[in-house]
């Protein structure tokens, strides 16, 4: 297996607070890596550091063997690393189709081709019947699907998904889980930030756990969830059994 994305000693300080501290991680090709941790543990900060929206205070980000730490977000996207935002950010006055066309234009200068590609992606994530609606008129769930469609439209090799399943009903979650596995099977490596443990267990090959900006555990989903430190981080020490 080859490593496609790697964080080396990533730290990010906001004033006196270390949002990330010495985090190392590796994403292998064709893998779905879960990123979990309590609220405020640094998951979104890690995404922001990897995708260039924040510069790390210390550490390097390496993608496909090249250092991408100093690159601006658009260049990181051009290199095949796409992300979704935890709070969906549709272009609200544009149609759903145009939202996706903008991403598709990254790989083709021909708008007609981009439109065709965008239609295929909307079909893939099940948003096709909303193609003519404005971004602002979508429901929360549809916005999450649109986030995914926009990220896919840039033809990423690595996809970073920030809580795409929050607030979904079990049936809706199953649908999106299937989609994520299909995306992985098409050759895209993924990092998934999620609170829903059932989802993590179902699709992740490995999981890393953050707490107060530090990595406290790493391994297979079941092992990690049985890890004492992880239970402490989520539930507090007093809940620990035996």
């Amino acid at each position: 297996m080859t490593t496609v994305l790697e964080g080396r000693g990533l730290s990010k300080r906001f004033g006196g607070l270390w949002a990330l501290r010495g985090v190392d991680f590796r994403l292998e090709e064709g893998e779905i890596l879960g990123l979990i941790g309590p609220n405020g543990s640094g998951k979104t900060t890690l995404f922001n550091v990897v995708t260039g929206f924040l510069k790390p205070t210390e550490g390097r980000v390496v993608a496909f063997g090249e250092d991408i730490t100093a690159l601006p977000p658009y260049k990181i996207c051009q290199r095949g690393i796409a992300r979704t935002f935890q709070i969906a950010r549709p272009f609200s006055d544009l149609t759903v189709l145009d939202n996706v066309v903008i991403g598709a234009l990254l790989r083709t200068g021909d708008p007609e081709e981009a439109v065709e590609k965008a239609k295929n992606i909307l079909d893939f994530v099940g948003l096709y019947r909303k193609a003519r609606d404005l971004g602002k008129n979508l429901t929360t769930i549809e916005r999450k699907h649109l986030e995914l469609a926009k990220a896919l439209s840039t033809e990423p090799k690595i996809l970073l998904l920030d809580e795409v399943m929050a607030g979904l009903k079990p049936a809706e979650m199953d649908a999106i889980l299937k989609t994520l596995v299909r995306i992985r099977d098409s050759g895209v490596s993924e990092i998934v930030v999620e609170h829903v443990m059932r989802a993590i267990e179902a699709i992740c090959d490995r999981v890393i756990v953050l707490d107060y900006g530090e990595k406290i555990a790493e391994g297979k989903p079941r092992e990690v969830m049985a890890n004492g430190k992880v239970i402490d981080a989520y539930l507090g020490r007093e809940y620990r059994l035996a």
């Binding site: 935002f85 234009l105 708008p111 096709y128 193609a131």
Partner: protein, 329 residues
């Protein structure tokens, strides 16, 4: 299985309508209109042209420029001074005016975009830039003639020096300029998509690989160049320029007004805006300007307020809403 089939293709009828409009407008001089009608039509097309240029950065890009009068005025002065001092044909001066317009747009645009001046701050920076240009044009009176302006000599009908005896010739030129700018902006499809994404959400655009700063600068520079070209036309047609009328704030406001009034989210918005507003403004000025000084501006202002309150997407947006279809082509 797939629901893809249901989406209809974008209507293509707009293209035929645009060609018909150009042919119809090109035939107008042959009907022998009174000179004043030709004059108003020239102004309509000039402001349609300028509004379309402004719309690139102001409408699509969402960066509200209050300084386009400066790019326009610098273009007007560039070709006029080059002609007066060096005998350079204004046709060539027009190309240099484009360069000056582009350069001055880069001069104000680059620092604004580099340091993230957005929204009202960008508007204020461009406003200040416009005021500075007017002051400079006034202050360097040995070169520019100061606040009195410049009267290039009238040489009669000399096409190679961009001087014509008939209004109809100027009309055909501005008609061609307008048609070309519409086609140019229409051809910039990827750029327009990117600019609109930038207007909506810069970070979300960057996350999709859009080089935000580069495209903002590109739009500002092209818009500035096109405005400079418009300035040369204006100087040749009126044969008189002064700092206030060729570069002043009133001009900047008029340019963005036709765009916002007509609908700044569409290709033909500024043209629609100019087609409605320019004649109204001219007629009001003639009917009321002499007897009730300033009343025409009050009525003009009232119209603007009504449109912005009831049609925030302009006339074009309202039309699209009523017709339930996009009027793009």
């Amino acid at each position: 299985m797939s629901e893809k089939k249901r989406l209809k293709m974008r209507p293509r009828s707009g293209w035929a309508a645009f060609l018909t409009l150009i042919v119809a407008l090109a035939l107008v001089p042959f009907l022998g209109p009174p000179p004043y009608v030709t004059h108003v039509l020239i102004l309509v097309l000039l402001f349609a042209y300028l509004g379309t240029a402004w719309n690139l950065i102001g409408g699509y890009g969402g960066q509200l420029s209050l300084g386009h009068g400066a790019f326009f005025g610098l273009g007007a002065y560039t070709s006029t001074l080059l002609f007066l001092n060096y005998g350079l044909s204004p046709w060539i001066g027009m190309a240099i005016a484009a360069g000056v317009g582009a350069g001055s747009a880069a001069l104000i645009g680059y620092p604004c975009f580099r340091f993230g001046l957005r929204g009202p701050f960008f508007a204020l920076a461009t406003l200040a830039f416009g005021l500075i240009v007017v002051e400079l044009l006034t202050a360097f009176r040995e070169i520019t003639g100061g606040s009195l302006g410049i009267f290039p000599p009238y040489l009669g009908n000399v096409p190679h020096l961009f001087q014509f005896a008939s209004k109809e010739a100027y009309y055909m030129i501005i008609l061609a300029m307008w048609a070309l700018i519409v086609l140019l902006v229409r051809a910039m499809r990827r750029t327009r998509y990117y600019l609109v994404a930038i207007r909506e959400d810069e970070e979300a655009a960057a996350a999709l690989g859009v080089p935000v700063r580069k495209y903002k600068l590109l739009a500002a520079v092209i818009s500035g160049a096109l405005s400079g070209i418009g300035g040369t036309f204006y100087a040749q047609y009126f044969s008189y320029i002064n700092p206030e009328s060729a570069a002043g704030l009133a001009l900047s406001v008029e340019i963005l007004t036709v765009a916002i009034f007509g609908g700044m989210y569409g290709l033909m918005g500024p043209t629609l805006g100019s087609a409605v507003l320019t004649p109204i403004s001219e007629l009001l000025r003639i009917w009321l300007g002499g007897t009730y000084l300033g009343v025409h501006l009050m009525i003009y202002g009232l119209l603007l307020i009504l449109v912005i309150v009831f049609m925030p997407r302009g006339i074009l947006g309202k039309l699209e809403e009523v017709l339930k279809r996009e009027l793009e082509f």
